[in-house]
């Protein structure tokens, strides 16, 4: 589904890349974890495959089409869904409106379907009473579940998550990881999680470590 071909990235000095010549493949129905220490470039890698930035070298292909061909805005709207460590919800909205807004922007087949949005939230433990409150009145775990629900409500085949459990306690972490696994296996999406927590990575189907400018497959 998603391929990187000779991917490379650097900030100022081309001679000191974060990573270079990366060739990876990601498929639907699978979950992937990318491990690495801080500053190794794993979040930058995620921003490239999420279409938030452009690679300095190489290319990224979605179903054999370059992201440049698809267009980054178009790619972000229809092909990829992103979950952030800081949840990044619309703080002036309720969970329900967060979902409805995202569904409207991305133009999913369920756009405007309030019942579908409520059901998606309910599946993640956000009941009707919480669904209409302002998101700022929810706990961190609940907010992250809303963020995941936003991903699940969309039609995008690729789900990328940047340290999705970074702000969560153990229980919530486990619940969130289980949700990602369901998204991958039940909904047949490709889930790529960037994390520095080995326990989280261990629960994914595949693990990669970014070290010394290269990706190493762990399992």
């Amino acid at each position: 589904m998603l391929k990187t071909q000779g991917l490379g990235y650097w900030y100022q000095d081309k001679a000191q890349p974060l990573f270079q010549d990366i060739n990876l493949e990601f498929d639907v129905g699978q979950s992937y974890a990318i491990l690495g220490h801080s500053g190794t470039g794993k979040t930058t890698f995620l921003s490239l495959i999420a279409g938030l930035d452009k690679p300095k070298a190489g290319d990224i292909l979605l179903d054999d089409r370059s992201l440049n061909q698809i267009g980054l805005t178009n790619y972000r709207r229809h092909e990829v869904s992103i979950v952030f460590q800081a949840y990044n919800l619309f703080t002036y909205m309720s969970p329900l409106n967060n979902l409805l807004t995202a569904m409207a922007i991305t133009g999913t087949e369920h756009a405007g379907d309030k019942a579908f949005a409520l059901k998606t939230l309910n599946d993640l433990g956000i009941g009707a009473d919480l669904a209409t409150r302002n998101v700022q009145h929810l706990s961190g775990g609940q907010q992250q579940r809303v963020a995941i629900a936003r991903t699940m409500a969309g039609d995008a085949q690729l789900v990328v998550a940047d340290e999705p459990t970074g702000n969560l306690d153990e229980d919530n972490t486990q619940a969130v990881i289980e949700q990602f696994q369901r998204i991958a296996h039940d909904r047949q999406k490709c889930v790529i999680i960037v994390t520095h927590e080995p326990d989280v990575a261990a629960q994914c189907d595949h693990q990669y470590r970014l070290e010394n400018k290269q990706f190493t497959k762990l399992s």
């Binding site: 921003s47 999420a50 938030l52 805005t73 972000r76 990044n88 919800l89 619309f90 922007i105 940047d162």
Partner: protein
């Protein structure tokens, strides 16, 4: 259009911020509206001034030409006889021709003379100058003695300066009108009436000072009160103002003598459009014998109002633009700060694949919602601010203009009080300014639908510019920098 919904949710969720924005926008728009109101009121007032104040063209004897003729005849004739300046009375037939010109709305015929009291006593002046017998030195060359009662013959008292400028007003009965032509009806002064216990309907007798010196009975149809400062007389030798009576010009002509029938001292034409006064004068000159008659114009009242209103309109214009520019800058700064605070939200929208123009449209819609409420508030409050500012501006501007005007006119030409040959010297310069009214320069500052539409336009423009200035950041924003730190 999802951005409409987002805009509404944001405005509603952040009520405190929205209220503050509404207050700031209202304050800005209130001053814009005040400026718009004053400007449109000044334009209206200037147009109204044309109708209210008007301007006049006066047809009278050509004194300058008559003086030259007198000088020529004195050099050619023997020195035994003293030369006389002969002023030709204005022919009413000439006046009728001029009255038929475009832009002449009405005209007032003036014919002054004096008679002697017979059945009543004139009011004596406090200066010790007895009213009896001392005719006014109006300059009119008289071939006979002057009387103690001033007769101001007019077409209508309402057109005479003293009445139109509110210096005199009818307190009982009525004024002289065109219906009093060829009648012996008279309007007398209140003091004269009370001194002689006269009232409306009574008859008084006067004695002509010219011609056959007949006694003539006059019927009082009205009593007027002259203001404390008003005087139709001129100079220390004049009669007391209370001894001035108003009659139809036909009766005044009768007192002067039969050869004055169909004539007048002067005729004042009211020009409906003061801007056309020059063309009216030029057209009028073609209809008269300029060696005998002169046409003089007076649009000073109109010019005073026009100058005052121009100052106000110009100042209001500056207010509008100054406030609009300052408002745009203030709002733009607020919006820039507001957008900087919302970088994260913009990043999320961009990560969802939202088009940048739709994000800008969301902010514009939010500001538009604020501006709509602000326009309503400003519409209610702008009237008050406009009234206060307008009256202050007018009083300052009018005072300045009138001071300049008075200074400029100091020592200016007097009205030709020159007597007509055979006529009785009258002290009056009545009628020269008949029709000129006191400049009314109140501003009618009221909010109309047009004003609100203009304000809405300004509000829209200010909002649009503010958002455009502030949106530079949105268009350059990279989601990675915002979302992934």
């Amino acid at each position: 259009m999802n951005f409409f919904k987002r805009a509404w949710l944001n405005v509603w969720a952040k009520k405190g911020r929205s209220v503050l924005l509404i207050l700031v926008s209202s304050a800005i728009l209130m001053f814009v509206l005040a400026g718009l109101l004053i400007r449109s009121a000044a334009v209206k007032a200037t147009a109204q001034a044309k109708a209210d104040v008007g301007a006049t063209v006066t047809l009278s004897a050509n004194r300058q030409a008559a003086f030259k003729q007198m000088q020529n005849s004195s050099s050619s004739s023997s020195k035994s006889s003293r030369p006389k300046m002969t002023l030709t009375p204005v022919k009413l037939s000439d006046a009728a021709k001029i009255a038929s010109l475009d832009n002449i709305s009405s005209y007032n015929v003036t014919s002054s003379t004096s008679v002697n009291a017979k059945s009543y006593d004139t009011v004596a002046t406090s200066s010790g100058l007895s009213g009896g017998g001392s005719g006014g030195p109006g300059g009119m060359k008289s071939s006979t003695s002057t009387g103690d009662t001033q007769i101001d013959g007019v077409t209508s008292t309402s057109l005479a300066t003293a009445f139109s400028s509110k210096q005199s007003k009818i307190t009982k009965g009525r004024g002289i009108t065109t219906a009093d032509k060829n009648t012996n009806h008279v309007v007398i002064e209140k003091d004269l009436a009370s001194q002689n216990k006269l009232t409306v309907g009574d008859t008084i007798t006067v004695k002509e000072t010219a011609g056959s010196k007949d006694k003539v009975k006059l019927k009082i149809v009205g009593i007027y009160k002259a203001s404390a400062t008003s005087s139709s007389s001129a100079g220390p030798m004049s009669t007391d103002p209370a001894n001035t009576m108003y009659t139809s010009y036909t009766l005044a002509n009768t007192f002067k003598g039969s050869k004055y029938a169909g004539t007048a001292d002067s005729v004042t034409f009211n020009v409906s459009n003061p801007a056309k006064i020059s063309s009216v004068k030029a057209a009028g000159k073609k209809l008269i014998n300029t060696s005998k008659y002169a046409l003089s114009t007076d649009d000073s009242s109109y010019q005073t109002v026009k100058a005052a209103m121009s100052n106000v309109a110009s100042f209001a214009n500056k207010i509008v633009w100054l406030v609009a520019i300052a408002g745009t800058i203030i709002l733009a700064l607020i919006v820039i700060l507001m957008i900087r605070e919302r970088r994260f939200e913009i990043g999320v929208l961009l990560s969802l694949g939202e088009a940048r123009w739709k994000i800008v449209a969301q902010f514009f819609t939010e500001m538009l919602m604020v501006i709509v409420v602000a326009v309503a508030i400003a519409g209610a409050g702008g009237q008050f601010v406009g009234n206060q500012l307008g009256s202050q501006l007018v009083s300052q501007s009018t005072t300045t203009t009138q001071t300049t005007s008075v200074t400029g006119q100091h020592g200016g030409s007097g009205t030709p009080g020159g007597g007509m040959k055979g006529g009785n010297g009258g002290p009056s310069n009545l009628g020269q300014n008949a029709g000129s009214k006191t400049a009314k320069t109140d501003l009618d500052v009221s909010v109309s639908a047009v004003n609100l539409a203009e304000l809405g336009g300004f509000g829209l423009a200010i909002t649009f510019l503010s958002i455009m200035i502030a949106s530079g950041g949105i268009l350059r924003l990279e989601p990675k920098k915002v979302l992934i730190s």
